[in-house]
């Protein structure tokens, strides 16, 4: 127990030290404070930004896009992943293709989404969906395959129906893996939407960050970076926390 406390304290100390370093670098003029506004200034600006209705609506736009893309990609990808994993032959055919699709940089297709959808909501959601779907398919397939054959054999030998097997064997034993898959999919999804916003968009927090950068508004830019990073990390940590809660399933 005491060990865990020391570790947490150590981590907090590291984070504080980094912020302190940032503060001193800028405050004592080691680096140009116009290029690197101090940490305190940045946090002040962040508080400021959060009051602004334009920033709030940008956040709302991004959140809507992220959630829409996620809500589309997860069930769709999950279904494909499940079907692939269930059928050996199909898996043999498709998996290398998916691996390939997975390993190529998705961002180069961004222009295609603009050409097709124009600049707007559907282009960003479309690209978010496109960046997420492959990882969802891959990780669902992995999750299904991670279910031990023994469990399935046991279930079958006791006469479980297909539905019972899905509900009582697949789902519980896949749950931790699925959560992990959701977490990672969300990372991909968020990155995809934000990139789409930065590339070509009229609203959204990614667009804001890009335009602050173009106008050399360092304070706002850094505040925006901190804000997005904080949101992403918070979401990530929540899922991880749930994951450890469920970890007793995994053996």
């Amino acid at each position: 127990m005491s060990d865990r406390w020391t570790i947490s304290l150590g981590r907090i100390a590291i984070v504080l030290a980094l912020f302190a370093l940032w503060e001193t670098l800028s405050r004592f003029g080691v680096v140009n404070s116009r290029l690197l506004p101090s940490a305190s200034d940045t946090f002040g600006t962040l508080a400021d930004l959060l009051q602004r209705s334009s920033v709030r609506s940008d956040l709302a736009v991004t959140a809507t896009e992220v959630l829409t893309a996620f809500a589309l990609a997860v069930p769709f990808g999950g279904l494909i992943g499940f079907l692939i994993a269930e059928n050996r032959y199909f898996a043999d055919v498709v998996k290398p293709l998916l691996f390939f699709a997975f390993s190529i940089p998705k961002s180069i297709f961004l222009p295609m989404f603009i050409l097709v959808f124009g600049v707007g909501f559907s282009q960003k959601v479309g690209f978010g969906f496109f960046s997420t779907i492959f990882i969802v398919i891959m990780s669902t397939a992995t999750a299904v395959e991670s279910v031990r054959v023994e469990y399935l054999t046991v279930a079958r030998s006791y006469g479980a129906t297909r539905a019972q097997t899905a509900w009582r064997v697949y789902l519980p034993s896949m749950l931790p893996v699925l959560l992990e898959a959701l977490r990672i999919s969300m990372i991909f999804n968020l990155t995809g939407v934000i990139l789409a916003e930065m590339y070509a968009s009229r609203d959204g927090i990614g667009h804001q960050i890009a335009s602050w950068g173009e106008n050399f508004q360092m304070k706002q830019l850094l505040a925006g970076v901190v804000m997005v990073a904080a949101i992403a990390i918070a979401f990530n940590e929540i899922i991880r926390w749930v994951e450890t809660r469920c970890s007793h399933w995994r053996t």
Binding site: I14, L110, T191, L195, M198, F216
Partner: protein
């Protein structure tokens, strides 16, 4: 039919559709120009694309050096020291959740829109996963191997050179694969966002003037680059196949990791 036959059939059909659908007018040529038109557009301006490719390759090469070199080195150090590992690793993987693209504007403000900002961004982009993969892989080294070496009187440096380094090779390779792929993404993305040279820049420029064939020619070039890189790494991995058979679980672990941290966008 054999799975691989069907697979190649599917690929051929997809390529054929790329040619046929736009020609038949089922897909507007603005969305997807026929493959032949794309290739012709690309070859007509081969000089321009070649120049851009050189710029991009230069940036990719340097970034890879920083990202993979730094990532492998730091990952090996952190992975082999238990205390810092427990302390830092979870923090690094939290950091991994952050969409790093948002850092690129910061780099452009600091370093301008030349190669420097791209190299800085792509290095950071590839660094984290490489480091995570290496650190995780170092842990999968079978402790019995180290114990055995110690029982034979191996000194610390002998253990490092003769046991830890060879045992870490599969991990380092998969780190290289992940990191390298991300570096390519990082360079191309940053070129697409704000830049004045490189393939990403060409793609973006042709996109603004709605010249689809030239956009897709650029896309194909990047694809070829990614595929070539992947093939090169796989070739090296096959050369080192012996390493992977023995280190218990190392390959599985490496695959897990690279599965989890493949190129985001």
């Amino acid at each position: 039919m054999k799975a691989s036959t069907l697979r190649w059939l599917i690929v051929s059909i997809l390529i054929a559709l790329w040619e046929i659908l736009p020609r038949a007018g089922l897909i507007p040529e603005l969305f997807l120009p026929p493959l032949s038109v794309t290739l012709i557009a690309g070859f007509a301006d081969a000089g321009e694309y070649g120049q851009a490719l050189l710029v991009t390759l230069y940036e990719v090469g340097l970034s890879m050096l920083f990202a993979c070199g730094g990532g492998i080195l730091l990952g090996a150090v952190i992975g082999s020291l238990p205390r810092p590992r427990v302390l830092i690793m979870p923090m690094v993987s939290s950091l991994y959740a952050v969409p790093l693209v948002i850092l690129y504007p910061v780099f452009t403000v600091w370093l301008g829109i030349g190669p420097e900002s791209k190299i800085a961004f792509a290095s950071i982009y590839g660094f984290l996963p490489t480091m995570l993969a290496t650190a995780a892989g170092i842990q999968t080294i079978d402790p019995q191997l180290l114990l055995a070496a110690r029982s034979m009187g191996a000194t610390l440096s002998q253990r490092l050179v003769r046991v830890i380094l060879p045992a870490a090779i599969p991990t380092v390779l998969s780190g290289l694969r992940v990191g390298g792929a991300l570096v390519i993404v990082g360079v191309v993305v940053s070129e697409m966002l704000i830049s004045s040279a490189g393939i990403g820049y060409l793609i973006s420029r042709y996109r603004t003037i709605l010249d689809s064939p030239h956009v897709f020619a650029g896309v194909l070039l990047v694809l070829a680059m990614a595929v070539a890189f992947n093939a090169a790494i796989r070739w090296i991995e096959r050369k080192c196949a012996i390493w992977q058979t023995g280190t218990r679980g190392a390959q599985a672990a490496a695959d897990d990791i690279s599965g989890a941290i493949q190129p985001a966008t």
